[in-house]
């Protein structure tokens, strides 16, 4: 049974209500009960002392690869949900590019059920856009949604057929879900393993030019405009992409877009020395791109912070650069990284960060939560904005360790993660 929890003395930051104040928060019956000063602890209530801490609506990551089924050596739904909780996330969205692909009501149901069983962060599946993510025929989107899918995507495989993308954007509207897309024109990026530019020229690695992403981003925006459908653009990495999204939003196109911590913080220079922990797709790009992604993140063009948590077994990354898979883990470093580099430096209001990590993702995918209004799910993140720590992948709850941020000194660290009125994780 969900217990009564009183979170006492913390600075509650909830942009959905315009709250940024030291108040107490009472959770009961799995919901937010009250937000007020000087709440007395009801009998039997568990009291969380949050003095000096930040209390926010549960953080959400709408772009996570949980690898199960088929890649359980990298991550399982349960390990991923626990890693999410340890990173302060109460809700995550699982990408469907598993083996088998999540393209049927049964497989969607499997992910949702395994997520509930894990008893950590909530896990919402995304369904595949096309059967087998092969880019040919739409999945039974209505049935996927009924089974629990909160969106559709062929993430991992860009939707190359513009006609299919149009159909998806048209058809999905009936179910009020977004279509999420990984923007990459494979004809321009084929064989690329990093950004095409100065570093790839020096290292002799095949590059993916910015244009390979931009061409696709612009196409998706045009199709969203044409259809009136909702497009969610994943992990935006280019300066032009940010501009195009900004202009589309101004025209009223229904678009949401992600910024990842790594595209906000790292450039292609991180690849130097053939570091496979800096190999990701879209690739780390140039200073100009990082500045634009930061600007887009700060002004809300990129309204959602998402990690693209992509776990890989250590020996898969322990290979020649060309052979290593794309992706890095992100769940357990995201909050610390963004807090350290944007909030602590004064570039971003704390409430805006919370917005980008709770209400905005909730709205983009129609997820419950993202607010501490009475009656909302009792999903709460408590973190210490002062705690200094060093990223040590051996401490991760994720089964994988592939991060380029090893050894990074960060300030701000999750303390308690509450899902549905239950403490699912607490720093030991």
């Amino acid at each position: 049974m969900e217990r009564i929890i009183l979170i006492r003395g913390g600075r509650v930051v909830d942009p959905s209500q315009g709250v940024d104040d030291t108040v107490d928060l009472l959770l009961a019956e799995g919901k937010v009960a009250r937000l007020a000063q000087g709440i007395d602890a009801p009998e039997g209530a568990e009291v969380v002392d949050a003095a000096g801490s930040i209390v926010t609506p549960g953080l959400m990551d709408v772009h996570v690869h949980l690898r199960e089924p088929g890649g359980e050596h990298k991550e399982t739904i349960a390990s991923g949900a626990r890693a999410a909780a340890a990173g302060g996330f109460t809700t995550i969205c699982a990408m469907p590019n598993t083996d088998p692909v999540i393209d049927s009501p049964a497989t969607v149901g499997f992910v949702a059920a395994a997520g509930r069983e894990a008893g950590a962060a909530r896990v919402y599946p995304l369904g595949a856009l096309s059967i087998g993510q092969e880019g040919e025929r739409l999945t039974e989107i209505g049935e996927l949604v009924e089974a629990g899918a909160v969106g559709i995507t062929d993430d991992g495989n860009p939707v190359m057929d513009s006609g299919l993308m149009r159909l998806a954007l048209d058809y999905a509207q009936a179910f009020e879900i977004p279509v999420a897309d990984h923007c990459e024109d494979l004809g321009l990026s084929h064989g690329g393993v990093m950004n095409e530019g100065v570093v790839s020229a020096r290292l002799g690695l095949k590059g993916k030019p910015n244009a390979s992403e931009d061409v696709h981003t612009v196409r998706d925006l045009l199709l969203a405009e044409l259809t009136g459908g909702r497009i969610h653009l994943q992990h935006v990495s280019t300066w032009y992409g940010v501009q195009a999204i900004r202009r589309a939003k101004a025209r009223g196109v229904r678009v949401t877009a992600e910024a990842t911590p790594h595209h906000l913080l790292l450039t292609e220079d991180a690849v130097d020395g053939y570091r496979t922990d800096a190999k990701m797709n879209p690739p780390l790009r140039t200073n100009r791109d990082v500045e634009a992604v930061q600007e887009g993140f700060l002004d809300g063009t990129l309204d959602v912070l998402a990690t693209d948590h992509a776990p890989h077994h250590y020996d898969e990354k322990e290979q020649a650069f060309d052979d290593a898979p794309f992706g890095i883990v992100g769940l357990e470093t995201a909050l610390g990284l963004v807090h350290t580099h944007f909030v602590r430096t004064g570039k971003l209001e704390l409430s805006t960060l919370v917005e980008r990590m709770s209400r905005a993702p909730a709205e983009a995918f129609g997820l419950p939560g993202g607010t501490l209004e009475p009656g909302a799910p009792a999903d709460v993140t408590v973190f210490d904005p002062q705690e200094e720590w060093v990223v040590d992948p051996t401490e991760f709850l994720s089964l994988s360790r592939n991060t380029p941020f090893t050894g990074e000194r960060l300030t701000g660290r999750p303390q308690v993660t509450i899902v549905g009125g239950r403490v699912v994780w607490r720093r030991g």
Partner: protein
């Protein structure tokens, strides 16, 4: 008591990592090694008892044979391992292969690999000396060093020369090693080829880009003509070999139209009638066979210098392996 050469460190991964002094040391050390190949007994005992593995994970005849001659003429024991599996069909990973070799107590590995960065990857993980015999499109340092030795033999210097690399720069490890090394030695470096075969941002490496081969020829003291891999045509980078020859081929006519002489290098194997015409390859300015001879001397020099090693780096690699 005897004067000693500056250390190259544990490995030779690329010329980008070397100082001009280290590059000159290799070239100077190669000089006395030329003579050994002229002896009745073409062998000196300097690497007696050392075991060298030639790990060729991509087909290569010339480079492997050149290394093997160099190793044998220095009295090393050599083992050749050749696998031509692509990245998709290979079995054992590179790191497992390397650790297995280490377990057999070897001293040096000469590695040729299809992937850029493979030599550095290996060098960081095993305490043996690692010599890069070509990694993907990254570097092929001994090939560039033999090019430099050949240029120096014929023109007496490298500093101040205009050297143009012509052809498929995008996929060429020879081009990158030439660019890095020649710039360190004070030469001006040009590149010339179809724009489809030049990497984006190639200018950032400090080279001059020529769109037309006639301009490159007019500018250059030395032309290093690269082999055009036939796959490039299938990949659509050039429409046809015939067109490539017409637009970028080095012909006697093109050479005669420019004033002055220029040295012609080619890393081999040549596609006669594609990137280079036969009368140029066999002509008076071609030093292509001298390059082959110098290749053995340069590789002997590298093997000799690396055998001195860098104990602290070998130790670090050993620690890394355990960790």
């Amino acid at each position: 008591m005897s004067p000693t050469a500056p250390s190259l460190g544990k490995d030779l991964v690329g010329l980008e990592d070397l100082s001009p002094e280290q590059i000159r040391t290799i070239l100077d050390t190669a000089e006395p090694f030329k003579e050994i190949s002229e002896r009745r007994i073409k062998k000196v005992p300097v690497l007696r008892g050392k075991t060298i593995v030639n790990l060729f994970m991509e087909p290569s005849t010339r480079t492997r044979i050149s290394f093997e001659f160099a190793e044998k003429r220095l009295s090393a024991d050599t083992v050749n391992i050749a696998t031509s599996g692509s990245s998709v069909q290979k079995g054992e990973t590179l790191v497992d292969t390397a650790r297995n070799l280490e377990a057999m107590k070897i001293d040096m590995v000469v590695i040729r690999h299809w992937a850029s960065g493979a030599a550095a990857f290996l060098a960081q993980r095993i305490p043996s000396n690692v010599i890069n015999a070509g990694d993907g499109s990254h570097e092929h340092p001994t090939q560039a060093l033999l090019d430099f030795l050949t240029i120096r033999d014929h023109l007496g210097r490298i500093e101040g020369l205009n050297v143009c690399v012509v052809g498929d720069i995008l996929h060429s490890r020879v081009a990158r090693s030439n660019i890095f090394g020649l710039l360190k030695l004070g030469a001006q470096v040009g590149v010339c080829g179809p724009r489809t075969l030049l990497p984006s941002e190639i200018e950032s490496l400090g080279v001059k880009v020529f769109q037309r081969v006639e301009e490159a020829i007019a500018w250059a003291d030395v032309l290093n003509v690269l082999r055009l891999q036939l796959e490039r045509m299938k990949g659509g980078y050039v429409p046809s070999l015939r067109e490539y020859n017409r637009v970028y081929g080095i012909s006697t006519r093109r050479l005669q139209e420019a004033s002055g002489d220029r040295l012609i290098l080619h890393p081999g194997p040549m596609n006669r009638g594609v990137e280079i015409d036969s009368d140029v390859a066999d002509g008076p300015h071609s030093v292509i066979l001298k390059q082959v001879t110098n290749g053995v001397a340069v590789r002997m020099a590298v093997l000799y210098l690396l055998a001195g090693g860098a104990p602290e780096r070998a130790e670090a690699a050993k620690q890394g392996e355990v960790a």
